[in-house]
Amino acid sequence: MIDTLFIGMILAYGFGASAALVFGRGSIGRWLVAVGSVLGAGAGLAIGIAVIAAGTPVEASIPGLFSFAGGLLVRLDSLGAFFLILIGLGAIPTALYGASYSKTYEDGRGSLRQLGLMLNLFLFSMSLVVMAGNIFTFLFAWECMSLTSYFLVITEANEPETLGAGSWYLAMAHISLVFLTILFLLLSGGDWSASFNSLRSGAAVLSSPLRNVLFVLALIGFGLKAGIVPLHVWLPLAHPVAPSHVSALMSGVLIKMGIYGLLRVVLDLLGGGPAWWGGVVLGVGSVSAVLGVLYALMEHDLKRLLAFHSVENIGIILIGIGAGLIFRSYGLITLALLGFIGGLYHTLNHAVFKGLLFLGAGSVLHATHTRNVEKMGGLIKSMPWTAFFFLIGAAAISALPPLNGFVSEWLVFQALLGGFQIPKPEMAIIMPLAVGMLALTSGLAAACFVKAFGITFLAIPRSPEAEQAHESSWSMRLGMGMFAVLCVALGVLPFAVVPQLSRVMTGLGGLPASPAAFSFNLTLQSPAAFGQMSPPIIALGLVVILGLIPVGMRIFRINQKRRVSATWACGQISQTPRMEYTATAFAEPLRRVFAQLFRPTKELSIDFHPDSKYFVQSIEYRSEILPWFERFLYRPLLEMFHFSARQVRRLQSGSLHLYLLYTSLALVLLLVVARWIK
């Protein structure tokens, strides 16, 4: 059954990829590409569900292929299956959406052949990453995933910013690969072909300094992909320039591969570690969460804003996982399980609501041809469906009940609140700090999404483009609608999801099967009854109350008349968009509150009328915030790189004789070395 589905998945992605090559442009080609991705992702989803339901890993190997490195080995356990489900849930709506969205490339701005081919290969290589059972398969799939996503990012290759962003992404992806290669070679003692099973048994006897080095390598290597601070710089560059449905996949699913890798290596292969590992993960997570949302607040490019929120949410996921690692090291198993479950649940939720938000941003971009929120406004009237779906996504990411973001943040909060059980006070004190950071993050996220939704969709259009906006096509709305339904479902039905997540974690790093202390029925209850909450009853209560208010108003014969009139503008006759509040102004108080971080610089140049300084002809205002990481971390690195490149360039004289000398010298040197090694 699973074998058939697996072959079906390969065939479906292959079908989608070849359809792109055969048809290229045209609606038939775009739809066949989407059909391939949907079927492939659907098969992956089914495999994932089957494996979690069965609870036993499935294995398959093709030793003949790449036999020099031990052959391809596929082994899917329930952790991999969870991420396979994640890929499926993220890919199906985005592929449907993409079928219509990619119509915009019919005019030749990007190659539809490349887009369709790479999309299917990308989805397949991600599926292979979570199924990999040995080092070679994992690194091979990982590299395929990075390369195919690079080609997806540079779909609009003619835009000047695209290639720059693509290069950043490619460079960061390969730095990640370097770290991961070192990690796996150290872990296996240099054996390329080692399977994960043998690594797991071998890791127990490694010395503890080596294990610490491996942990740091894993955190950096996988953190680069996940986008933790300060390794996040590629996200706000690459997400905005990619086609929007690709951004949705990258932000929703691709960066989660970093989380998968971290769990696989640190928890599964290494079997967990000392408490400070968890402390580092928790600290990195808290910093990423707060800085991510703070930078998002200052952003007025809708897709860059969402990219920074990915950094924030990766932070929240890592807070959960870090807490889990800490609890595990102290033997507090139920709490550890709660932390991991919170992290995994947020992983799933983030894929859903961030997918939805990126698709919504794509529809807005499609309709207005701008990503600058200052030029939008009033779209709720011209694009009612998109606005409604985006609002659901915005409320979900702000952790508002009864949607999904609330449930996972609640679980993470509950795990952190259990921190007082940690015997070491210096470790326990981290927990309240993390609680504060997480709460600040969710408050700021709510502020940021009031800004993002309010300025984009409400009030009056701020530009002619926004005025002429139109609603997206049905398949784009279908894609967003599927995500929106998932947002509500995951928010209202956690009791169906949480037990499955505890099954996923069973056996990883010695975590036992779901202990009896978990009772997840209608009410969500954390171990040792620390807190209880019932999302379905809250949702039901809200719906009932909302329904009863109008009924009550009828019963009490409240005046139901309504008149429409102009907005009151202090006696002014007409109201123009220039009187509206802008996104910059909206974020100004927070910019001042966090001025130490942002270090805003202001430039104001006023052009007065020559006759009187009381008449202003034009005002130019420019304000920037200090990009700490780009300036103080990456710029010196880049300068060093450029400097060494300049030094190396001296070797190049252009003289053929000199080059022949180099070649012969290199040959002699190689021969000597080869001889010596023998």
């Binding site: 007082f420 309010g454 009056i460 040792a528 909302l546 008149r563 509040y581």
Partner: protein, 313 residues
Amino acid sequence: MMSFLLEIGQGLLALALAPGLVGFVRWIKARLQARRGAVPWQPYFELAKLFGKDVVISSNASWLFRAAPYIIFGSTLAVACLVPTIFAPLPGDGVGDLLAVVYLLLLGTFFLALAGLDPGTAFGGMGSSREMTIAAIAEPTIALAIFGLALGAGSTNLGRIVTNTLANPILALSPGYLLAFAALFIVTLAETGRLPVDNPSTHLELTMIHEAMILEYSGRYLALIEWAAGLKLLIFFSLLANLFVPQGLATTLTPTSLLMAGFIFIGKLAFLGVVTAVLETRVAKLRLFRVPELLSVSFVLALLSVISSFLLR
């Protein structure tokens, strides 16, 4: 069925008392400022009048502007059903804990801020921006104060906290509880738009926050929002009163105990109302950019509360 009725009854009681509480604070304030002031039950007349008026909405506004008052009122009423006012532990104690209460209130704030942006005036945007800034900065304090309370009781459930404090009354005097109380009191002032954070009785564009957001509302929509704002004040007061000093809450379902608890509850509200009124006549409004400093004070208090609970365990 009985428990269900109790839950609803609590919510309705809070709903009925809320305008009176607002009027009472105003009345005390007027007296302290040597004015005669309107009668404490004036807000009931105001609500009745607003409910009778036509609604005028901006031509720029969308469906969100019309839906927001219901969502704000509904979410606040839902919270009022969860928070113990006269009886604890409530049968629906497992429906929503303190965290759920906080996030349900944030749901109302979120839609209020969106509704402020919808008509497209600068006032609304200004109010929304300020409201969300303050809400965001107050959030960590609330979470930590919850942590401090939960540490003592071993649960974030409201009912558990109350019964635990009832069983060990000395707990209410522990430094963890006292510091958490101080932190939550400051947050209450910020979240419910009282001085020194926001001035509930001004319509001056430089200072207003809450009033700026709802400037475009009228008629029954305004009535719903005003009522919800009063309810929010009452919710925060009952959290302060019943979580820290649960004495007087009914624990058995008899008419006399409920009646008794009702009177004690009104007494507690009146006490907090007087404290607020005195405070509001004594302090001036802070500049907006000073408010974060006040809130960081409350954050430090909450953090100290948690740390002292850790150390004293």
